[in-house]
Amino acid sequence: MNLPAPPFDFQVCLAACAQGDRRALQALYDHEGARLLGVARRIARDHATAEDILHDAFIRIWTGAASFDPARGSARGWVYSITRHLALNFVRDTRRETPLDDHEVTAVASLFAGFDEPQLWTGSARINRCVEQLQPAPQRCILHAYVDGCSHAEIAGLLGAPLGTVKAWIKRSLQALRECMA
């Protein structure tokens, strides 16, 4: 899936939010809410929880807009990282750090079926090309971690690989991605 990015100035939007303009926050919600909810939903695996996360994310965007520093990265990235980390904190607090049992593996794996679809890889972003160059198993490690918020143990369960191997794959993949993107 490669979503077209309509022209929306995230930085101007955050500046307006910092000045107390609620319409700017609503514009951000209208523009990006469904995509952000999609991100939270994949990690939380539950729609109602994902909506709670999106709610908290928008409150945090609103209260923290003045602290956004464009020198540190894009405004869009800032909005996404707030949402993702709230979702990751939620699953970290609620999900246990043990491998999934067979039933859970089947249930979770069905959520991830999309990864094998070739059209996922039509994205023009360089990171997609770089992830594509990884071996299939490390590739799935990166995507299950980033997109699904899976822990090492969950990925080990999904891939049927030892925990230590998964940790090594992720570490090496991060090195490879950084070199590929350099």
């Binding site: 979503l3 807009a65 822990s151």
Partner: protein, 233 residues
């Protein structure tokens, strides 16, 4: 993850930052990174770079339409939030830009008003607009600082227990001065008070305050309408 080695070894720092962004750190490691981020510029830079690098992967999550009630829930919660840090309204750049953007609207309105004006002609006119959409809400006419009149253009309403407070601030003034409390959609003549002479570009605005007006003598509530004085020749 060993903190000491991560600080010295750039590769370990990159892995720590990368795993933080991926989300694979255990709760204690993650808490450690959050704590270090506040005072470790190298780690902060590595995390920022990873956030940007991996961001396009978020597109692998299909969009989900939020339920219709979610936005109103967010909006309700905003009411209890204090934004930090807050800048006083008279220092907010966008507001000033918005006020200047109203200049054209102001001169058009001014032309219309002049045609119907009785003597003494106002020497200053201000169109007060809503900060977000620049919709004109009020006009201020003044012949001098002792004769300032506020004229409603619409039928705006104020929530129960709230009032509109009228303020002005000259460019060199340190803070705005209250010109009194205003009822929505009602003409208001400012009682005589000891004000410096009016000047071009002097700022006028209406803020929403609790009944009785701002307790601090400075605007505390949201700006509802704002504009700058134009000198009539």
């Amino acid at each position: 993850m060993n903190q000491g080695s991560a600080s010295k070894d750039p590769e370990a720092l990159q892995t720590l930052a990368g795993e933080y962004v991926l989300g694979t750190l255990a709760a204690d490691e993650q808490a450690e990174v959050v704590q270090r981020l506040a005072h470790d510029p190298a780690l902060q830079a590595a995390v920022d770079a990873w956030e940007q690098r991996l961001l396009p992967l978020a597109e692998h999550a299909a969009p989900q339409p939020p339920s219709p009630r979610l936005w109103s829930r967010i909006e309700r919660s905003l009411g209890h939030q204090q934004q930090v840090p807050r800048t006083p309204w008279w220092q907010r750049l966008a507001l000033w830009q918005g006020a200047s953007a109203a200049g054209l609207a102001a001169s058009l309105l001014l032309a219309g008003l002049l045609l119907t004006q009785q003597a003494p002609a106002p020497r200053y006119l201000v169109v007060l607009v809503a900060p977000g959409d620049n919709a004109a809400g009020w006009v201020v006419q003044a012949s001098d600082a002792r004769n300032i009149e506020l004229i409603p253009l619409g039928q705006d309403q104020v929530p129960e227990g709230m009032v509109l407070q009228f303020w002005t601030k000259g460019e060199q003034w340190r803070a705005p001065v209250s010109l009194g409390l205003v009822k929505p959609a009602q003409q208001y003549r400012v009682p005589q008070q000891d004000l410096p002479p009016l000047e071009p570009n002097q700022l006028f605005e209406l803020t929403l305050e609790k009944a009785g007006g701002s307790p601090t003598g400075r605007p505390t509530g949201p700006v509802k309408f704002i504009g700058r004085a134009l000198k009539v020749i």
